[in-house]
Symmetry: C2
DNA sequence: TGTTATTATTAGGTTAGCCTAATAATTGTT
DNA sequence: AACAATTATTAGGCTAACCTAATAATAACA
């Protein structure tokens, strides 16, 4: 089972996120959320169905399979780690943090992911370290830059 | 002038790095360093020449134009920032750090790049902060993990 | 210098991922 | 139920980025 491409990972993630927000997920929702056209979604769905990650009856709603949910969650978890790092720690604006998380979430080794996660959690879990972090490493004038 | 694709950025960067290491750069050197086949290099060179970033006479050596050097340096600078962050701060193995830097150097906004650079330089420039960093945020048991 | 080895190029093919335009199915409205 | 609007799908095309196999140019050397 070859690894998913960044593009297919994006589809999977989008479906997961949409299905948490809305009762049902349709082709046009995915298209809108990824800013692409519906026919492209159809093509991607075909690939995802073949891999057994998505269930989709013609002209109907989309759903993730069990395996699809699992994979999508992993992808989304990576997204969250980066979002927390960029926004929560580096204090980048939410929109920037989110967009950049999207762009790189597909590209890092798990080794590196773990290292960043470690840092994020360390600071998340300790008020003392958080205070230290913001006072010494990301002081006011840096995080409000521009 | 449309932005360079990740792939073309890789070529540019490879040519820069090779030209610093060797007197001359040939097609096969680029091919080897990017682990692709020579005909692919030829195709990419055509694109880079059209953009005025590379000079290449047939069957001859490759050179970056002034503009090409400038662009390649920017790309390489991004690579270095990530390498320093991954290896120097997170203490990931050199090979992992380098590979992951390659993979994401094309994908981040300049806003985020600057933030990471800020952190890296902060710690680079202050022995005191460096000590603090390694004692509190990346302690032994984390950076030697596995 | 002629021949071989190396390197570069061309020709042509494949795949992924997008698109538009045309058609089909479904849903909503009167 | 008929028609209109919405949504989904198919058909076909395009580009980027790779590939292999065949050919051409250059370099090395006997």
């Amino acid at each position: 089972m070859p690894a998913l491409s960044p593009s297919l990972e994006d589809y999977l993630e989008a479906i997961l996120v949409l299905s948490r927000k809305e009762k049902v997920v349709r082709v046009k929702d995915v298209a809108k959320s990824l800013a692409i056209k519906p026919p492209s979604v159809i093509g991607a769905l075909k690939a995802l169905e073949e891999k057994g990650l998505v269930v989709h009856e013609k002209y109907g709603y989309l759903e993730l399979s069990q395996d699809g949910i699992l994979q999508a969650q992993k992808i989304y978890a990576r997204h969250e780690i980066f979002y927390k790092f960029f926004h929560g720690l580096l204090r980048l604006p939410s929109a920037v943090a989110s967009e950049d998380a999207c762009r790189i979430e597909h590209h890092l080794s798990s080794r590196t992911m773990e290292a960043i996660l470690g840092l994020v959690q360390l600071i998340e879990d300790s008020p003392e370290l958080r205070a230290l972090w913001f006072s010494r490493f990301v002081p006011e004038e840096i995080r409000n830059k521009k």
